[in-house]
């Protein structure tokens, strides 16, 4: 049997390939009932514009929701933490919806009121990925609004963290005011200084000259005291901690510029350098604003709490009650339903648990647990409801302990400054030049000491040094983002540029999580038999059953009825279809003949139809296409590759084929082993890039110099990572790394350029002949040309690399 994915019909809603072409509504195909339901809802409310704005904009529906999943939102205390304003008529609340990605999303989210009349208004802020909702509590409830959002595919990201501390508005308006004021004053001072330059300081009308200079003084005051205040404060803070940070020379330059200008104007010597001074402030503020915009655009500081459910059902006596997870205590009895997550380590009391630890370990086969067994936090129940007794509080559970590992205490890549190491020497070099100038002129012409030394401090502005890194990395972050690699901050680019060792975690990073290659060995199956197997497999929620069911051709004309069905968790299925008994499962379960059991590669599901053993389905991981080529490129660039997998070694031969014979491939690795492996490499002086997924990689991601978390859904990623990489773009990895390396070269080149500018300026300054005009030309020219240089070059390089 071959892969039936060759029939290429795409879901009208989410764009996924439809495995079952029988799901139809209004001549459109859907991949699943969930997507169809969403379509029907939108159609009913005349919101089909959603599908016109962008092609297949929908997010794959996750199926029906278990009632009670959002039950905690009915809890008054939880509600109060989330909502911003409440009255009898309206409640205002802002949801974070990381899934929104296109204009269709905006359209749908802003038209919520058409689906749910209780919603009075909904407004999207696309860049913050937020939707602000006003609803009428008399007509609907917070829980209903969230359930609606989740149903249409935009499940809001609600975490304990948000609930604990409401976040401050991300947008800093004060900074914009400062830029506006500085820009206004700078441009007007510049304009009023032109007559001075063109007449070389000899304006015919003396009254006019005085008027110009004094208007300039008036205009410069708000720049000095309002716009530049942050620079002074930062420099002062640094000095108090005995640190000479990059703001110190800038603050010194601004101070010297203004003081000397005021002195010259008051004493009637000249017009001063107010245009350059305000110019520095203006460009610095713009640079800073840009920096903040790019450096802080992603909030990665999620901890374990972001991953856990907010509420849980607790049984007290006979009554079931929803409480926030934080209030969970030892020996509480909780109920976990299908697809719900276990929030704390617990003992199974009632029911059969079939725990999916994929979130924790990356393994996708559920583990069966019997009554009395321990279930760790982070596992997801698949199947009927179970009753558990909590043995550890949330904050002491297995997963949360992994978080309390020492490596999570420090913030790597964070304390590293965004500026080039050369900048450290800038202040020292500058001060020594100033001292040298002072000594030189004290011997030759003491009257030139003051003008020359102040001119040195004025002209040698590190702003072009600062701007070059800010703008290069800012532009690169944008380009990476366009390719769905979201870096935590610009320091990660520098880390990435140094990488020489790359570790892959097999699960999910180089394989497709949702797709697997399925093949069949054994007696050829007839169409009827395929239909029987599909019917049986559809009954089970086990991933293998799902894969098998999805691989079968649809046969809607034949409705088969099951007369019996039983699932043996972790073993197999037993059913009777029509009058044919069917058994599917592991070799042990069906007691297969030996010839079938041997040479099993991948995971096998054996099938018994009637009395005869028909054959087996072999499910194998499907590797992303083009991975061999990427591995080749990475190796050619001098990187050492490793594979650390938490899985068993059934894929060893395939991985060897991809990665080559010399690559170390380790299987059955525990999170701790992965972490230790990276530590060992680092002791050998390697710069390690870890590419992983799953929560269990958190330690390894954190330990490595740069940790990428691969995610099919950017709303779910490991918090310890430095970057989120969309699963579909893993194969661009070689390009990403070489681009990061190129970026470093661009920064270095622009540094050399800005140093040349400084040399030109200083050569005027130390001779004591720096005229206000030269300063006024040199400063903006250097800043603007450097920004242009790095922006154009980094965009051009990206195009060259094919990003």
């Amino acid at each position: 049997m071959t892969n039936t994915r060759s029939i290429s019909v795409n879901c009208f809603h989410c764009g996924d390939v439809c495995n079952d072409i029988s799901i139809l509504a209004a001549d459109h195909h859907f991949c699943c009932q969930g997507c169809k339901q969403v379509y029907l809802l939108l159609n009913e409310n005349n919101l089909c514009n959603y599908y016109d704005l962008d092609k297949t904009p929908g997010l794959k529906a996750r199926g029906n929701f278990v009632s009670g999943r959002f039950g905690y939102l009915d809890d008054e205390a939880t509600m109060l933490k989330l909502i911003q304003f409440q009255s009898d008529e309206q409640i205002n609340v802002t949801f974070s919806v990381p899934q929104m990605h296109c204009s269709s999303c905006i359209y749908l989210l802003e038209n919520l009121h058409r689906i749910e009349p209780g919603v009075k208004q909904s407004q999207v802020n696309f860049q913050q990925k937020e939707v602000f909702v006003i609803f009428d509590p008399r007509e609907t409830s917070l829980r209903k609004v969230v359930e609606l959002l989740a149903f249409i595919g935009y499940e809001p990201y609600i975490s304990l963290k948000d609930a604990v501390t409401k976040k401050a508005p991300a947008f800093n308006r004060r900074q914009i005011y400062k830029i506006g004021v500085a820009g206004f004053c700078f441009s007007n001072i510049m304009m009023l200084s032109f007559p001075e330059y063109f007449s070389s300081g000899n304006i015919e009308e003396p009254g006019l000259k005085t008027a110009f200079t004094w208007i300039n003084v008036a205009l410069s005051v708000p720049v000095l005291f309002f716009s530049a205040s942050a620079i002074f404060i930062s420099a002062w803070k640094g000095l108090r901690q005995h640190l000479l940070n990059i703001d110190a020379p800038i603050a010194l330059a601004i101070m010297v510029t203004f003081v000397r200008s005021y002195y010259e104007i008051i004493s009637g010597h000249g017009a001063g350098y107010l245009d350059s001074g305000t110019g520095i402030v203006f460009f610095m503020l713009i640079g800073r604003w840009f920096q903040n915009k790019t450096y802080d655009s992603f909030s990665f500081d999620r901890d374990y709490r972001s991953y856990f459910p907010l509420g849980v059902s607790v049984i007290e006596g006979k009554i079931e009650k929803n409480i926030p997870v934080t209030q969970l205590q030892r020996s509480d009895r909780i109920i976990i339903r299908h697809e719900e997550m276990v929030p704390a380590d617990a003992i199974l009391m009632k029911g059969t648990a079939n725990i999916d630890y994929s979130f924790v370990s990356g393994e996708n086969a559920p583990v069966e647990k019997q009554k009395g067994e321990l279930i760790y936090a982070g596992g997801k129940q698949m199947g009927s409801a179970i009753e558990l007794e909590i043995i550890k509080e949330v904050s002491r559970s297995y997963i949360t302990q992994l978080w309390n590992n020492d490596i999570f205490k420090g913030n790597k890549n964070e304390d590293r400054s965004y500026i080039h190491p050369w900048s450290k020497y800038f202040t020292i070099v500058l001060l020594s030049i100033a001292v040298g100038t002072l000594i030189f002129w004290s011997f030759f012409d003491p009257s030139k000491i003051l003008p020359a030394v102040t001119a040195v401090l004025i002209v040698a502005c590190p702003c072009s040094l600062l701007l070059s890194a800010t703008f290069t990395y800012g532009n690169m972050l944008r380009i990476f983002g366009r390719n769905k690699l979201f870096l935590k901050n610009a320091a990660v680019i520098e880390g990435l540029a140094k990488i020489n060792t790359i570790i892959f975690d097999k699960t999910g990073t180089i394989t497709h999580t949702n797709a697997a290659v399925i093949s069949y060995e054994g007696i050829p199956l007839t169409g009827d038999e395929l239909a029987i197997i599909k019917t049986v497999a559809q009954q089970s929620a086990h991933p293998l059953s799902k894969i098998i069911a999805a691989s079968m051709p649809a046969s809607p004309e034949k409705l088969l009825t099951l007369t019996q069905f039983k699932e043996y968790t972790g073993k197999g299925l037993e059913a009777v279809v029509g009058d044919i008994p069917v058994k599917m499962g592991s070799a042990n379960f069906i007691q297969a003949d030996h010839e079938f059991v041997t040479h099993d590669t991948g995971t096998s599901v054996h099938v018994v139809l009637g009395k005869k053993h028909a054959g087996k389905f072999i499910v194998q991981n499907q590797y992303r296409q083009g991975i061999t080529e990427m591995v080749h490129n990475l190796k050619q660039d001098g990187n050492e590759l490793f594979v650390l997998s938490g899985d068993n070694d059934s894929e060893h031969a395939n991985l060897k084929k991809i990665f080559g014979i010399n690559t170390t491939i380790n299987f059955n690795q525990s999170p701790q082993q992965k972490l230790d492996f990276i530590k060992k490499l680092q002791l050998d002086g390697k710069q390690v890039l870890m590419i992983g997924d799953g929560l269990n990689d958190a330690g390894a991601l954190m330990q490595s110099q740069v940790g990428f978390s691969v995610s099919e859904n950017s709303a779910r990623f490991s918090p310890a990572s430095d970057a989120i990489l969309d699963g579909s773009r893993v194969l661009l990895l070689d390009k990403f790394i070489s681009y990061a390396k190129a970026g470093k070269k661009i920064v270095t080149a622009s540094f050399i350029l800005s140093i040349l500018y400084n040399i030109v300026g200083l050569s005027f300054a130390i001779q004591g002949i720096l005229s206000p005009m030269i300063a006024a030309i040199l400063m903006p020219a250097s800043s603007i040309s450097i920004v242009l240089f790095v922006s154009l070059l980094s965009s051009y390089t990206a195009k060259q690399k094919g990003l």
Binding site: L41, N49, R173, G180
Partner: protein
Amino acid sequence: MSALFVLIGISILVAGSFLAAFLWSVSNGQFDDDYTPSIRMLFDDNPKKKTSTPPSSKNNTNQ
């Protein structure tokens, strides 16, 4: 040359009014989100054509 004084006064006044307008627009929140409004204005207002849908059916949406 006294005409220049008047002209400079006027020019600063005009520039100042632009600054004031800018500061006002920032405080009014017009720069908080510079993407969504540009998309929002493109949406057609097509009114609900089906009003016959009973309101009770809305409750079935969240199963």
